[in-house]
């Protein structure tokens, strides 16, 4: 087990190195934007001698391989430089923006799993029924419907039209808290919950279908196994067969898919943050693109890569731990 762990970690670090190198190549080598502009804001009118000084200071006059090594060092020590737009260190700003993203994603993921899994189990236990067909339909639907469009529609109907017809702001359309924020901590939490309610609901509506379909398919796979036939032959109730025997064996792939879907969800939440003007990482990245704010872009891409690689690693390891059949490297 330890050997496998070590091997996986080394491979992960290798992949991270490749991604950072790719980052370097994209932004510093083959980029149509000259490298010094990725350090200096484009709109800044700097005298040539100061520009030269800054080139020297940032090491842009060094040969490429020295710059590459410095770039690696900066990235891996989380020294991302100063944001062009806010003029604060990127790391500081990142820590300020993280809570909104974590809150949004954490609550929407938990809600999606809580809604989707039972529906998937229900569909699998009644294969061919109307529930099952509806679940397949909902799953296919998520394939063809952009989540951002669901969000736009919900916003249109439950915020704008609701306000027009009933005169009440049912859901706010922007921000993560009211301005000014309520002083009372409990009132503040309620206010935040009110603000992220619509983003979370729309993410669940857009995501529960595929989740339910996935659970259903895995469970159906499990239900066709021989040990289920054995369990039924023993005279166990259908309930026991479903939950004790079939569902338990679906846990490894489900946990794995949770870990594997986290990065996709996080990058996907970018659009959610954009639509609802939530001050999270995704919105920050999009604002940085429009800047352009190169230190922020490189930092966020790096963090996204770390996250993806980490989640892949966790998924691999969890799979090994949860599924005794593939407990890697362990002799029994």
């Amino acid at each position: 087990m330890r050997e496998y762990l070590l091997k996986r970690i080394i491979v992960s670090i290798f992949i991270l190195w490749v991604v950072v190198t790719l980052n370097f190549v994209i932004f510093q080598v083959v980029s149509p934007v000259s490298p010094e502009d990725t350090y200096l804001p484009l709109d800044l009118d700097i005298p040539p001698e100061v520009r030269d000084m800054m080139r020297e200071l940032y090491g842009l006059n060094d040969p490429l391989h020295i710059r590459y090594i410095k770039y690696l060092r900066n990235m891996f020590t989380f020294d991302f430089g100063i944001s062009f737009q806010s003029r604060t260190p990127v790391v500081v700003e990142m820590s300020r923006r993280l809570p909104a993203t974590v809150l949004l994603l954490g609550s929407s993921m938990v809600a999606t799993i809580l809604v989707g899994t039972p529906i998937g189990i229900l569909a699998a236990s009644k294969r061919g029924s109307k529930t099952d067909i509806a679940t397949i339909g909902a799953g296919l639907f998520t394939w063809g419907v952009p989540v951002f469009y669901i969000q736009l529609l919900f916003m249109l109907f439950f915020s704008y039209y609701f306000l027009k017809i009933f005169g009440v702001q049912l859901f706010p359309v922007r921000g993560i808290y009211s301005i000014p924020p309520p002083g009372n901590p409990i009132a503040f939490m309620v206010d935040v919950a009110w603000h992220i309610a619509l983003p979370v609901i729309t993410l669940v509506v857009g995501g529960f279908g595929s989740w339910a379909l996935y659970t259903r398919n895995i469970l159906l796979d499990a239900l066709t196994q021989d040990y289920i036939v054995t369990a039924r032959a023993k005279g166990l109730t259908e309930r026991t067969v479903l939950y004790r025997h079939a569902f338990r064996s679906t846990l490894p792939p489900i946990v794995t898919i949770i870990a594997l879907s986290i990065p996709g969800i996080i990058t996907g939440a970018m659009i959610t943050e954009w639509i609802f003007t939530l001050p999270g990482i995704g919105r920050w990245y999009l604002d940085a693109l429009n800047g352009p704010d190169y230190p922020v872009l490189q930092a966020v891409l790096f963090m996204y890569a770390i996250l993806t690689i980490f989640c892949n690693l966790i998924a691999d390891l969890l799979y090994g731990i949860l599924d005794p059949r593939i407990r890697v490297g362990v002799r029994r």
Partner: protein
Amino acid sequence: MASVFSADARKILLRRISEFWFEFRSKRIGLAGLALMLMYAGVAIFAPYLTPYNPMSQPRLAQAIAMPEWITVFPQFQEYGRTQRNTLNWQIVAGSDYIKNWGTTVDIQYAADNPELVQVALKSHFAYEQLAPNEFYTKFRYEVTNLTDVEYSMTLVLTPPDANGSWVFFKSPTLSAARSQDVTADSKDPLFIKLLGYDLQTNVGNIIFAQRGNYTFTMYLNLRALSGNAEAHILFKEAQIVLLGRVHGILGTDYLAKDIWSHIVWGSRISLIVGLLAAIVGTAIGIFVGVVSGYLGGMTDEVLMRTVDILLCLPLLPLLLALVHLYGRNVYYIVLFIAIFGWQGLARVIRSQTLSIRETPYIESARASGGSGFYIMRRHIVPNIIPVAFASMILAVPGAILFEAALSFLGFGDPRVVTWGMMLQHAFGFGGFSQLAWWWILPPGLAIIGLCLSFVFVGHAFDEIVNPRLRRRR
């Protein structure tokens, strides 16, 4: 393809296709998807015949964010008018001595023997019988030539049907030089609103055209001869008043008063091109990598599969946004980027299939009879994986379409073409929501959903046929 397949192989292929069609026919969802897909293809192909407007260059067709025309069947919108364009036809009121020609083009030839002041006046009527428009504009052109010792000024005045009061639409300073000018008085122009004497927030269209009946434009031209041999030649033409409609066309207009239906129709081309091209290129890469990796094995396999791992670890959307931002918002770059990052899953599936095919006896005998690796891959392996690859390609199309829509929605689409994602971006960013412009927000999204679902349905039906795992136990 003819060189790849021998006559026998072609026969087998044809038989397989007809068998496949036999099975596909029984899948209702697949047939529905196919019908929908053909409908979209038809719209894309016949786009120029489905809409008279070019999506990229359109005159001002109606007011900004005008409702669809058919909304007037509902009683509360019954009075909403369409765009009304009136060419002004001038008649003489005063100064007939100098007017050589009148009608839509007025030709004034003025000459004087001694200093004097003369006023030439023209008028033109037009009828307006609809609910007051929110926007309107007036245009005309004057050309002053052959000018000697004449000072002139002109004033355009509108009188409402009840002749109670009037509005000055245009007033030139006193000029003494020859010049030509196109004059536009636009209800959106702050200077014009100021000239009319209203507050900038005022909807002047609602005030001026509140009455129904015959409106009258009067043009006063003051000519002052400064010496004994004064003369001037004045042409006054192309005058029109356009009262922009509150309703327009099949789906109304957007914030720039562009026809939404034409954008929907032409947008289908871009979506289909992006989806199909990205899926085809991505599938080709996936087949190539999967087959080579699976058949050759060893070091090649290891390198290719680690590349797949790395590509799967890249944060796709942010990276694509950065690439599009750096290399330019070009629709073909977007296709290429989507394709480059969209083949990894397929490559893994193809590789595992190749691995099992590789061990079959007929491959062994092909190898024993001296077939080269490339020959075996092309001749024996690729034909076997084509059904799976094809199903996967069809299922990759909606992904690519949605991705392009998301890019466009975030403002990273190609600005030279109209896409559905971009329409949503505009609706979101330029007041479609606060104005509750459902005719602007709903169509692009529904178009995306319909197109994607058609591919999902067909792909799902395909997958059920070619993928034995999904067949039900009977």
